[in-house]
């Protein structure tokens, strides 16, 4: 159970993991997520489900802190400590007509299942992906297949437009592109900007919020976010919300709550050199 079947660092910091978990594989719908734990001491981290096969599912994990670092240290064949899911409400997948999908860093992986599902419903898909530089772009071929129009933005201009999803989005709308529905997944800052751009044009916008989560079944309220004035739980009511109703300022502040704790944890936990363990001492004796 929870065995890592395959693991590869697609681009720096983004790891593609294929994990064996029959329940998740059978039941997961696009837009849902799982909660992973690398070991008994690790945190419970939410990950969007990208693809599902017979009894395995695929995620694109962004290596960001101590727990994702532990998962990044693991090798195919090792077992995760816990995999719970599929959690959260599936994304809204209907026929809208022209659909815009925006994805940034881990979001590039996360919008792929949405793109596939929306394409199957007959929508015309326009995809914009962003990354800091050209060497950080992945899943490009697969996304191109399911997208009618495909744009790339990099913040150092090494590929495509010099800028972010919002830069391309602004340009597309200015020269006449019309959208009936928009979905954005990626860093909170990008999702906020894109929602602010689509708001005046009243394009229905859905965003998948990446709040801090703890249990994932709605019993702790750690992932609460104000949407349209009401407090909602991202783990049971979300993760997909209406981009124009989300109180972005509050969300960003809540995400910064444990910034210093993350630093303390990364700083003081006794790090162990990776490859050396395997080459010299067989499996890690942790």
């Amino acid at each position: 159970m929870y065995e890592i079947v395959e693991k590869r660092e697609e681009v720096p910091n983004i790891h593609r993991l294929i994990i064996r978990e029959p329940n998740v594989a059978k039941k997961a719908k696009p837009g849902q997520f799982v909660i992973l734990m690398p070991d008994e001491k690790g945190e419970r981290v939410p990950m969007s489900i990208v693809e599902t096969k017979k009894d395995t599912f695929t995620i694109f994990m962004l290596e960001l802190g101590i727990t994702t670092g532990k998962i990044a240290n693991m090798h195919p064949g090792e077992k995760l400590y816990a995999v719970a899911g599929p959690l959260g409400q599936p994304a809204e997948i209907e026929y809208y007509g022209n659909v815009l999908l925006g994805g940034g860093c881990y979001g590039i992986g996360a919008i792929y299942p949405l793109a596939k599902a929306l394409k199957a419903k007959g929508n015309r898909i326009v995809t914009i992906i962003e990354a800091r530089s050209k060497y950080l772009i992945y899943l490009e071929e697969k996304l191109r297949i399911v997208s009618d129009e495909f744009y790339i933005a990099t913040s150092d201009g090494s590929r495509g437009t010099n800028g972010h999803v919002q830069t391309v989005l602004d340009r597309l709308i200015k020269n006449g592109h019309r959208f009936d529905h928009a979905k954005f997944i990626g860093c909170t800052y990008m999702m906020m900007n894109c929602s602010n751009i689509t708001a005046p044009y009243r394009i229905p916008t859905r965003v998948a919020l990446n709040t801090i989560m703890l249990d994932g079944s709605g019993m702790c309220g750690c992932c609460r976010v104000s949407v349209g004035g009401k407090t909602k739980f991202a783990c049971v009511d979300g993760p997909e919300f209406d981009g124009h109703q989300v109180d972005w300022a509050e969300l960003m502040k809540r995400k910064a709550a444990y910034q210093e704790a993350e630093m303390i944890s990364y700083q003081t936990s006794p790090h162990i050199c990776r490859a050396l363990i395997e080459n010299y001492f067989g499996e890690s004796d942790e």
Binding site: S133, D156, Q267
Partner: protein, 522 residues
């Protein structure tokens, strides 16, 4: 007399133009120059114009000559310097430096400081100390006209203590110079050539397979985040920086320690302590923070009840120990003094023993063999000791230690001791008596060894042992001219008091395990 930018500066024989400029605080941007290292001339940022000499010269290697007239900052030089710096940025993951949304992103994207691979300033631990970034801000860089050639080198994480991300390396060669000319180890060298030139070990061997001493000097001089100590890089600005002497062995190295969140987070050689030409050893440099921050420090005095050691406060434990000591004749009581006591604690312990007429004072494991001979009943040890189980005559064990090391499970009374970074004092080393500085607060109720003895002394209402602080003891030691000797603990001693350092620091265990058949592991 030289004239730099119209300012007359005294000529000094044997100095380079850069040194003279620096002494007269004329700013010339540099990346590969470093005051402790011979000049190298690789980054070419310190280009200057010497009148009468065609073309430009670089300030860091050109010996100054009397009568030189130098311009450091005319338009032509600025243009050249910007062009050269733009080339450096084109090989560095500098997307954050030139991204229009950098400040916003910085404010909002809180958590992305600790990525595995550094893909931009925002995910770089070195962000606030990075010299490349400082120059980017100084030259106010907003665009790079060249395509970015990210080297896509794998991160080298297969060595204990080091993380090496050569994608950030700007080939300034400082680490190569410090490793060759200062440390004399010749581990880090330039390899390959042309654009694939890379700094590394010969044949890309991991450092553990070379003779690298893990002194960490290369990390100190690295201007970017390329070389970093895995456990010592994420704290940005320290809250405090304290200098003290190391007590892990009797060499007496001087440290400068960074403190953050009330913990020791980084250790480096004391920059002003010039006599220490080479760096400090791996124990002090890398193991110390992880070691003293380990989770299982002894924090509370404990006494045994119902097969379990329950925490309690100093008053109650004091009376316990007092009862124990009064219940037995001095001949049946033994003291084990570890080599890791500060001079003051050692003195106070011996004075206490004298007052209590305790003669059995042991300092080596061999001394323990006297326990059965003398029928010792109570042992007060300040260091975890092996094989206490098979001393049948022992009835009570007073365990005064920093960690629950060997013998803890047999203890009747546990007394939490403070580590040498948590107290003031002096320590007699090969370099004579060296000051010990308090760097951080001791955890919870842990006390200095001499304070513990004083507390017990009060309970036994012995007079003459209630010192306020270390200076008082020092004066008394001076008056009595108490002769302290160098403790028999050499650089390759692997324990601190009773705890093997490798037990708390996994990387150190791997280092020792790998190099176990070498005479000297570092």
């Amino acid at each position: 007399m030289l004239v730099i930018d119209g300012k007359k500066v005294p000529f000094v024989e044997g100095k380079t133009i850069l040194e003279i400029a620096r002494e007269n605080n004329i700013h010339i941007p540099t990346l590969c120059a470093h005051e402790r290292l011979p000049s190298f001339g690789a980054c070419r940022l310190c280009m200057i114009k010497v009148h009468g000499v065609p073309g430009f010269m670089n300030a860091c290697t050109t010996p100054a000559k009397d009568g030189m007239v130098i311009t450091t900052n005319n338009l032509e030089i600025k243009k050249l310097r910007r062009a050269i710096f733009e080339l450096i940025l084109s090989e560095h993951p500098s997307s954050c430096m030139i991204c229009a949304q950098a400040e916003h992103c910085d404010k909002f994207n809180s958590g992305i400081m600790k990525a595995g691979v550094i893909t931009g300033c925002n995910t770089c631990p070195n962000k606030d100390m990075c010299e490349v970034r400082a120059i980017a801000e100084e030259l106010n860089f907003k665009t790079i006209r060249f395509p970015i050639f990210y080297k896509e080198l794998p991160i080298e994480r297969n060595d204990p203590f080091f993380d090496r991300d050569y994608n950030l390396c700007i080939h300034c060669g400082r680490c190569v110079r410090v490793c060759q000319q200062v440390e004399g180890a010749h581990i880090l060298v330039f390899t390959k050539r042309g654009h694939d030139t890379k700094i590394g070990t010969s044949f890309e061997k991991p450092h553990i397979e070379t003779d690298c001493k893990f002194c960490g000097q290369c990390i100190d001089v690295c201007p970017t985040g390329a070389l970093s100590a895995r456990g010592q890089k994420w704290y940005q600005e320290p809250d405090d920086r304290v200098r003290t002497t190391c007590m892990l062995c009797n060499k007496g190295c001087r440290f400068e320690m960074d403190v953050k969140w009330g913990r020791i987070v980084a250790v480096r050689p004391d920059p002003d302590y010039k006599t220490l030409k080479t760096g400090i050893c791996v124990k002090g440099r890398f193991c110390l923070p992880t070691f003293f921050n380990a989770v299982d420090r002894i924090r509370f005095p404990r006494f045994l009840q119902n097969f379990k050691l329950y925490p309690t406060n100093w008053d109650e434990i004091g009376s316990h120990v007092a009862e124990l000591l009064e219940a037995y004749p001095p001949s049946k009581i033994a003291l084990y003094l570890t080599n890791f006591l500060t001079d003051e604690s050692d003195y106070v312990f011996r004075k206490f023993a004298e007052m209590m007429e305790i003669t059995n004072i042991y300092t080596t494991v061999e001394d323990l063999t006297q326990i059965p001979k003398k029928g010792i009943k109570v042992l007060w040890t300040t260091e975890g000791l092996p094989g206490l189980k098979n001393f049948k005559t022992l009835e009570h064990l007073i365990f005064q230690e920093v960690f629950p090391s060997e013998g803890y499970e047999l203890a009747d009374v546990v007394l939490p001791a403070a580590a040498f970074t948590e107290q003031f004092g002096t320590y007699y080393t090969q370099r004579g008596p060296m000051p010990i500085q308090k760097v951080v607060k001791a955890p919870d109720l842990a006390l200095e060894d001499w304070k513990i003895v004083c507390k017990i002394a009060q309970e036994l209402d012995l007079s003459g042992l209630n010192y306020l602080d270390v200076d008082e003891i020092e004066q008394e030691m001076g008056r009595v001219n108490y002769k302290q000797k160098v403790r028999p603990v050499d650089e390759y001693y692997l324990k601190y008091r009773g705890t093997p350092i490798a037990e708390k620091v996994p990387d150190f265990k791997i280092l020792l395990e790998y190099r176990k058949n070498r005479a000297k592991p570092w």
